[in-house]
Amino acid sequence: MSDVRTTGRWRGVVALSLFAGAVGLLAQRPSLLLLASAGVGYAVYPRLVPAPPEPELAIERTISEKTPSHGESVDVSVTVRNEGDRWLSDLRIVDGVPALLPVVDGTPRRATALGPGDETTVEYAVEGREGKHRFEPTTVLSRDLSGATERTTTVHEPTVLDCGVSVPQAALRDLTRRRPGELQTDDGGSGLEFHRMREYRRGDPMKRIDWRRFASGGDLTTVEFREEQAAAVLLCVDVGTETAPGEPGGRPTAHAVARSVAAADRLAAALADANHEFGLAALGPEPCWLPLGVGRAHLAQLRHLLDTDLAFAPSTVAARRSDAEPFTPEDGLGDVAPEVSDSPRGPTVDQPGAPGAEPALSDGGQTVVDDQGHADATSGRDRQTAELRERFGGNTQITLLSPLADDDILGTVRTLEAAGHPVTVVSPDTTAGESVGNRLAARERTTRIRALRRLGVPVVDWQTGDHLGNALARTMEGYR
């Protein structure tokens, strides 16, 4: 996949020839007519050099720490090797740093010339930010020797940087399947915690009979313990809706999605440890679905999806802006690498709120803008919810990971609750920051949280920098 364009940079050089020729004729100087050949020669030069070949590049990315803590600096080293048998005389490499990770040392960019088999290594450091961050494809621009033709390609090396701490326990509500597990219920039966005493009935196991009481009083009683059962939980990540680009209003951002995905990972791990059934779904423009299952293998599958599936890709979330603002070279002089926008464009609602962030290299979270553009936001949510409901059975409870950035998500929760699926919302707060837009978004989010809590839906308000486990424990206490 590559995209060829002519830069037209030598176009103006003929003007020099015309000028020298005209002056030479007027002043009657043959030597100036000879000078005109300089311009003509350079106008022909780009025609004579070979066009840049389709680059055959191998790329290898190593990161010093795959699971850094928040604020920890991570060294990234990217090696690009020319696998082809031709010279790449002017190669510009821009690594696809995750949008939310600020570059703190060095630069993820390099311009070089690579002979066949040559390689170059770009080294830089990023700072860990809470969430799961995928590296985007590395953009490579290759120009011919004269710079007249430019070829844009991307090379993908999937790397995931996962920043955050694990949680001891997932958020569960009291609805269960009849499988032994960790969730404590109000039903008596076999278990660990004492529940009540009741009169002996035929068929009760012998070891549950209170023999001491039988010895003193002579009547048979049975001890019941609190039954512990397994829940079936669907982790549902809100990736946003298909809304028209430029439309006002809060939408989930890359920042929110990165944190939601990381939270989904942690919750799934906790669920797997406790032998609960869990599945995964994306609530967004790209469908993603992992049916309920148990165990470490299932967890690995879920993690693989979170790391690689298109539904959670930053490109699904952030790169759609390139459709909204197409790259237009201005008179062949616009020399901006198309997928390498470093401008701190547009986060009206979302700012990671980190003073150390470098806006030059981190675009601070882009709003979700979909290329289909015209689809109505409301119908988008409704359709997503309907699709979701078709997929899972009656006993499933849902943990929705959503920044609660639009009102329609409330409708989704209501629909699911009405259908008998208890919903727990884990909401990463992405409205930190002092700007007017952020304050407004925070206000709206608080209103939505209140509305959900009035419905009886537990909402875990997960602040930036807060420990997810603590936030979960605090909220879920009230619902046990």
């Binding site: 020729g21 002056v23 050949s37 311009g39 030069y45 311009a111």
Partner: protein, 234 residues
């Protein structure tokens, strides 16, 4: 916050190796045509003044505002002195005129490569290189400099533009902080070889006893060359 602001600006400014090469080519474009000590004096003063300006700019960027401003002002004064020298020093009226566009062109080229104003880089680099070329043509008109001198200086002024533009382009795509030396040297090598080839071919044609050819004959030859270029473009 200062580091944040400066890193933002570092990103799209022309790269340093390319800027140096472009200035070198620009100085060569002026230097090749110089005759007489007075003109050399003017060029040296101009180059020193421009170096001071660039040094002042760098110091300013690094936060030494006072030293930077002083150095830049001194550099500016030196550039003016150089222009005055160029106008006053040579005895012949014709020689007084020929150095002016070149010296001005160098200053404009540097202004584009620093850059004095962002998003004006290309405009300033093109203007500077055009002024250099005008200087070359002026030399050809007023003094009748030799063909090889004129051609070499003309090629050097095109090189100044090419390397300057390359530096601006790389600055926009990979930034001033990235390592770009290898790409720029290879590009410069290509353009230099092309220039040498142009020089050789043109002089070769000139050596085929062009002396006997009339001006009209030359003009026709030139028109034919243009026709060839446009045909190649189709």
């Amino acid at each position: 916050m200062t580091s944040l602001a400066s890193s933002r600006e570092l990103l799209d400014r022309p790269t340093v190796p390319g800027a140096l090469l472009a200035m070198l080519a620009g100085v060569a474009a002026v230097g090749i045509l110089i005759e007489g000590a007075g003109q050399w004096q003017a060029l040296v003063v101009d180059v020193v003044g421009l170096a001071l300006c660039a040094g002042g700019y760098v110091a300013w960027r690094r936060g030494q505002q006072v030293a930077g401003a002083l150095s830049a002002i001194a550099g500016g004064v030196l550039v003016l002195v150089a222009l005055a020298l160029a106008v006053s020093q040579p005895e012949a009226m014709t020689e007084r005129l020929e150095l002016l566009p070149g010296l001005l062109g160098l200053a404009v080229l540097l202004a584009g490569l620093l850059p004095v104003r962002s998003s004006w880089e290309r405009r300033l680099v093109s203007t500077g290189a055009a002024l250099l070329f005008v200087g070359v043509v002026t030399s050809g008109v007023v003094r009748g400099a030799s063909e090889i001198q004129l051609l070499a200086a003309g090629v050097a002024s095109v090189l100044a533009w090419d390397l300057g533009e390359q530096s601006v382009s790389l600055g926009g795509q990979v930034g001033r902080r990235a390592r770009t030396r290898r790409a720029e040297l290879v590009h410069a090598g290509g353009s230099l070889v092309a220039g040498a080839a142009i020089l050789a071919v043109t002089l070769g044609v000139a050596a085929l006893d062009v002396q006997g050819l009339s001006l009209a004959g030359f003009a026709v030859l030139l028109v034919a060359a243009f026709a060839l270029v446009f045909a190649l473009r189709q």
